[in-house]
């Protein structure tokens, strides 16, 4: 029995005269004990999907069964069985209060689940140990480092020992060391407790290193699902990246005409080609450009990454996306999912 089974989950926000389709219909199945990642740029609909699955936002269409409870008919049942760690970037932070002590946050969370005090205290001290927060229980939250605070927020989401936990951008804003440390903790959640983990991320490395399966989400729909390896295998061959001096469109035309080149995309003034056996193909490609009088500034060959998968599927690079996500950079289509979520919780919706 799958722990999450969602069909056609969609959310539309109406703000003034505009209708924004934040999520256009997501189907997903998550099995017990999986670590699953939603990968996509800011504004793709990852957070909105997560907010629907955690009962924070009512879907405008679709159905879902989450941890054995029907999302629409029994939201309280869902809440009892899931853990949720909000994202700690953009408009809102990760759910802990500056003025609380570490231990108070854990005890209050236990009380919110109506767990007896003694039992919460026992679990809190276990979590403090498990998440390397030893000796910090009497510290004010505001005095914690970024990594410590994020680990506390994860601990808070686990006090009631949920079989399923949602982590919204668990490592965004953390330094690389804290990030890989967090990955270990998340991996151990599954290996030690059998917890199913659903997380959102826009870090490719994170999806690659941590997730059993990745849902690539863009523009409110799931564009691909699979293990990181399966997804990368969809791109047969290597990725050759070229920077040319001007004439980028002419170069593109020439290269597209080469039979060994499977695909050409342009992003960020760069040409990215998908080529079988990249190293061997390189001299031939160089000769073509040289013959046309196009000079090159840089060249590289790499095995495909999830970013290349994303680029192939959507024509855009995930790396263009700034991690800050505090609006402003939203442009015309996205305007940032935190912002969209805010609009929904704000004046727009009428239940």
């Amino acid at each position: 029995m799958s722990i999450i089974e969602a069909r056609g989950l969609a959310r539309t926000f109406k703000s003034r005269k505009r209708t924004v389709h934040a999520v256009r219909g997501v189907d997903l199945t998550v099995e017990d004990g999986e670590i699953v990642g939603f990968l996509g740029p800011n504004g793709a609909g990852k957070t909105t999907t997560l907010r629907m699955l955690t009962t924070l936002l009512r879907p405008t269409a679709g159905t879902a069964v989450v941890a054995g409870a029907d999302l629409l008919r029994d939201p309280l049942g869902v809440r009892k069985r899931i853990g949720f760690v909000p994202q700690a970037i953009g408009q809102t932070q990760g759910g802990t209060d500056d003025q609380c002590l570490v231990i108070e946050e854990l005890m209050d969370q236990g009380a919110a689940y109506r767990i007896p005090k003694a039992e919460t205290a026992r679990r809190a001290s276990a979590l403090i140990k498990q998440l390397d927060l030893g000796g910090l229980d009497q510290r004010l939250v505001k005095t914690l480092s970024g990594g410590q605070r994020r680990r506390l927020e994860v601990a808070v989401g686990l006090v009631h020992q949920p079989p399923l936990v949602f982590l919204d951008e668990p490592t965004t804003g953390l330094d690389p060391q804290s990030r890989s440390n967090m990955w270990e903790h998340i991996t151990r959640l599954r290996s030690d407790l059998g917890t199913t983990v659903v997380l959102t991320t826009h870090y490719l490395e994170e999806a690659d290193a941590l997730c059993d399966r990745v849902f690539i989400i863009d523009n409110g729909v799931t564009v691909a699902v699979g293990t990181p390896d399966e997804l990368k295998r969809r791109i047969s061959g290597d990725v050759v990246t070229l920077r040319v001096n001007g004439a980028i469109e002419r170069a593109r035309g020439l290269l597209t005409a080469q039979p060994i080149v499977q695909q050409v995309t342009v992003a960020d003034e760069e040409l990215r080609l998908t080529v079988e056996r990249g190293e061997e193909a390189l001299p031939a490609l160089l000769r073509v450009l040289d013959g046309a009088g196009i000079t090159m500034r840089a060249i590289s060959v790499a095995r495909p990454t999830l970013d290349d998968v994303f680029l192939t599927l959507t024509g855009r690079s995930l790396r263009d996306d700034s991690p800050s996500g505090d609006g402003g950079d939203g442009g015309d289509d996205g305007s940032g999912e935190t912002e969209l979520a805010g609009a929904g919780a704000g004046a727009g919706s009428k239940e």
Binding site: F84, Q93, A112, E351
Partner: protein, 256 residues
């Protein structure tokens, strides 16, 4: 019924948070105490209850203290919304909304904290009033608390709800100011409204607090049963119930 248990969970958390910054509670008292000390003495020489004779110290404070109690409740309760904006920004509100805790309790626990805080502040204000020459029946003084509590429940509920809808201090502050100041002026806190022209007395009828203050003043004069009292009691209960209901609607919204 977990409602009471849940409300107490939130109440305890909020009490703990406010005790960590107790300066805030003292600060809220500063304004009415200043009015008591610096404005109260001016009232002695005014004919507060019709007539043309100056009313004297005891009369002045019997008139002024009920008004100040409502002023304290009005300011103290409408500004509580600021705190929930920063809690929302910290992600705390959403964190609790994903737990099984009753979503009305998320509001009710906070309102209960504010009611307790305001009751304590009112005790201090009344004691200060007595020190300055307030003389009123004990029953009247005790009966002013239900009024203050009703106003606090109503205004704090609405304040939290509006703040949670706006999610921005920059739009919340001007909104509150533009609502509270006219309400206060139209409630006859400082001076009796019957000193004013007819049109002013007319529009003052829209301020619910005017009826509440009038009823409290009747108590302080030893009158416990007349039209003014009945009107005041009904308005106070009405304000508390309607506002709490409106506030709860916002907190359970999106209750998928």
């Amino acid at each position: 019924m977990y409602f009471l248990y849940d409300t107490m969970v939130i109440f305890r958390r909020q009490v703990r948070l406010i005790l960590r910054e107790p300066a805030f509670l003292t600060f809220a008292l500063l304004q009415p105490i200043l009015y008591l000390v610096l404005f109260g003495p001016l009232l002695k020489n005014l004919p507060l209850n019709g007539g043309s004779e100056p009313s004297g110290t005891a009369e002045a404070y019997r008139f002024f203290v009920p008004g100040l109690l409502i002023q304290l409740a009005l300011f103290g309760s409408t500004f509580v919304g600021f705190a929930i904006i920063s809690e929302w920004r910290a992600g705390v509100i959403e964190r609790f909304r994903v737990t099984p805790i009753s979503r009305v309790s998320i509001l009710a626990g906070r309102v209960l904290r504010d009611v307790v805080a305001l009751t304590l502040q009112s005790v201090v204000l009344i004691l200060a009033g007595v020190a300055f020459g307030l003389r009123a029946p004990l029953a009247a003084i005790l009966l002013s608390f239900p009024f203050v509590i009703c106003v606090a429940i109503g205004l704090a509920s609405v304040s939290y709800a509006v703040a949670l809808l706006l999610k921005s201090e920059d739009s919340f502050a001007p909104l509150i100011n533009s609502v509270v100041v006219p309400l206060l002026l139209l409630s006859g806190v400082m001076l009796p409204l019957n000193l004013g022209p007819g049109w002013l007395q007319g529009i003052a009828r829209v301020s619910p607090f005017r009826y509440i203050i009038d009823a409290m003043r009747q108590f302080y004069l030893g009158q416990y049963w007349n039209t003014l009292v009945i009107e005041g009691v009904c308005v106070a209960i009405g304000v508390a119930i309607v506002c709490m209901w409106l506030g709860s609607r916002v907190f359970v919204r999106e209750n998928a």
